[in-house]
């Protein structure tokens, strides 16, 4: 992938240089590109929407992709946000100054600076605290070194799941974030999750996060504290019981989705917010079934008593 990208970038560059040489405009174009640029999103995207825009980091040797898909960005959560709100610095200059490029982007800082930040039910400072306890932050593994928000949430494409989006799509896209790194999980001979009854059904129906995050309080969305496999939820009754973990999270959304898509009657009939086991109560089951069994015994005994009375009556009739 990287090789192909590098080749394409080289091709574009070679093409541009060749074209400039042929037209004899090499010096003027270089002069034009130096200096002041616009800082509207469209100005930025003039260059950054090029699929081949990339450079090789001289220190790590890694190819750094600078491409932003304009269409996806237009549909993302940040579509209305000017590029320079996040990429602060003198990006009006080209080449962009090293000071601007060296800046580290801070999701939490930016979001907490918003005037309505304190009104959010799920604040970014909470996300930050949860992430600090996440296995992605606490692991010693070199694979997660420098792990940050952007590893899961590409700010140029990320969008919150929207009402009307099919629930299967939400599950798939959410899980794809995890699987893009944890790719071995779904290899054909993977032994991961073998303990889980109806493993594939679970994978299709719920997000990895349902089990790999701790229980949250009522009204709180899924935590950003990702748990290690061994610390994750192995207890079926956390979802399949009165806790209604799924109702608060994924299924709450599903009900809203259904309602939006299909009207209230269809939604009522095709309601899928009932989680297996939600109505289970060992006490009520024992009481209910016990009383029913007892009643059945009483009725049978009652019927037997009536039959005996009838036999006595018949006997009495015959004797007469």
């Amino acid at each position: 992938m990287h090789n192909r990208l590098t080749k394409r970038a080289s091709g574009w560059l070679a093409g541009a240089v060749l074209l400039s040489a042929l037209l004899g405009t090499s010096s003027t174009s270089t002069a034009a590109i130096h200096g002041q640029l616009g800082t509207d999103n469209s100005d930025c995207l003039r260059c950054h929407r090029m699929e081949t825009l990339a450079y090789r980091d001289p220190q790590s040797g890694e190819l750094v992709d600078l491409h932003v898909n304009g269409e996806q960005f237009g549909h993302s959560a940040h579509a209305e946000v000017p590029c320079i709100d996040c990429h602060q610095g003198d990006f009006g200059q080209y080449p962009h100054p090293a000071a601007a490029l060296a800046q580290r982007l801070d999701c939490v800082g930016c979001h907490e600076d918003q005037p309505d930040a304190h009104e959010r039910a799920y604040r970014f400072q909470t996300i930050e605290q949860e992430f600090a306890r996440s296995i992605h932050a606490t692991s010693d593994s070199p694979k997660v070194k420098g792990f940050n928000c952007h590893h899961c949430h590409d700010p140029h494409t990320f969008r919150n799941s929207a009402i009307g989006q099919p629930i299967a799509e939400i599950v798939r896209s959410d899980n794809q974030l995890c699987l893009s790194c944890h790719s071995k999980i779904r290899e054909p001979y993977s032994t991961a999750h073998l303990w889980l009854p109806k493993r594939d059904k679970h994978w299709q129906a719920v997000r990895c996060l349902e089990c790999h995050t701790p229980l949250t309080d009522l009204g709180q969305p899924v935590s950003h504290q990702l748990l290690a496999g061994k610390d994750s939820n192995f207890d079926c009754v956390n979802c399949h019981s009165q806790e209604q973990r799924l109702l608060q999270r994924l299924y709450q959304y599903r009900s809203a989705t259904d309602l939006e898509n299909s009207g209230w009657l269809s939604k009522a009939i095709l309601n899928q917010s009932y989680v297996v086991g939600m109505s289970r109560s060992p006490l009520l089951d024992a009481l209910g079934l016990g009383v029913m069994g007892l009643t059945l015994c009483v009725l049978i005994a009652h019927g037997w008593g009536r039959y005996r009375a009838y036999r006595r009556f018949r006997q009495h009739q015959l004797e007469q």
């Binding site: 009522l218 009204g219 009165q242 806790e243 209604q244 109702l247 608060q248 709450q252 009900s255 809203a256 309602l259 209230w264 009657l265 939604k267 009522a268 009939i269 095709l270 309601n271 899928q272 917010s273 009932y274 297996v276 086991g277 939600m278 109505s279 289970r280 109560s281 009520l284 009481l287 209910g288 079934l289 009383v291 029913m292 009643t295 059945l296 009725l299 009652h302 019927g303 008593g305 009536r306 005996r308 009375a309 009838y310 006595r312 009556f313 009495h316 009739q317």
Partner: protein, 214 residues
């Protein structure tokens, strides 16, 4: 031989539709509640069928209430307070003692009153007490997304689930007793045939104790 036309066509249609829905709801309800058993309906299908049957049961119940308001069937559900406890005690005593001693039935079906006091009380409790509560808790389930997070400090959906389950057990219990009690008419099938044909037939309107026992 006496014959009284006690169950009009709409009452019988409602009764048997209700009975069918009860059976469907019990089976699908058990399939959802005890999901995974071999004789149970697959969970996904059970949910859809249960929800559909529940909505039809609601329509049926509303029809029953309207029918009782607009036709004279409602008179059978009006409690006559005069001598109420005496009749109630007599009926209970009959089911608990007299029936085993071929005692005469303390209640005789008439065009004005087809239900004995104990029947009347239990039907009133079921149709105007348990059924609306069951239906309301069922609808609360269907629109659980619109419920508040908690009710009385407890998770609201769990509370609804427990209420629905308790009511469901109570109504299954009612069905058991109902199916048995209807066999205590003049003959074992007198009441069943009355609900099928509409006509309540007895060999003699004031039957003797010996005939009651049959």
């Amino acid at each position: 031989m006496s014959a009284l036309y006690l169950y009009s066509r709409w009452v019988r249609a409602w009764h048997w539709l209700n009975a069918l829905l009860f059976i469907v709801l019990m089976y699908t309800g058990a399939s959802m509640h005890f999901a995974g058993g071999g004789w149970l309906m697959p969970f996904d299908r059970a949910v859809t069928v249960h929800n559909t049957a529940g909505i039809l049961l609601t329509v049926g119940w509303i029809g029953f209430v309207i029918g009782n308001v607009t036709t004279d069937n409602g008179r059978h559900y009006r409690v006559q307070w005069s001598g109420f406890f005496t009749r109630l005690f007599a009926q209970a005593q009959y089911y608990g003692y007299g029936i085993f001693h071929n005692a005469p039935h303390p209640f005789h079906v008439t065009a004005e009153m087809k239900l004995n006091t104990l029947q009347q009380l239990s039907y009133l409790g079921v149709m105007y007490g348990l059924m609306p509560l069951l239906i309301m808790s069922g609808w609360a389930f269907l629109f659980s997304v619109s419920l508040p997070e908690t009710l009385f400090g407890l998770p609201s959906v769990w509370l609804i689930a427990m209420a629905h389950l308790t009511l469901a057990y109570a109504l299954v219990l009612f069905l058991l007793v109902h199916m048995y009690i209807i066999t205590t008419g003049e003959t074992v099938t007198t009441n069943l045939r009355a609900m099928l044909t509409g006509w309540h037939r007895e060999d003699a309107p004031h039957s003797s104790s010996h005939q009651e026992a049959q």
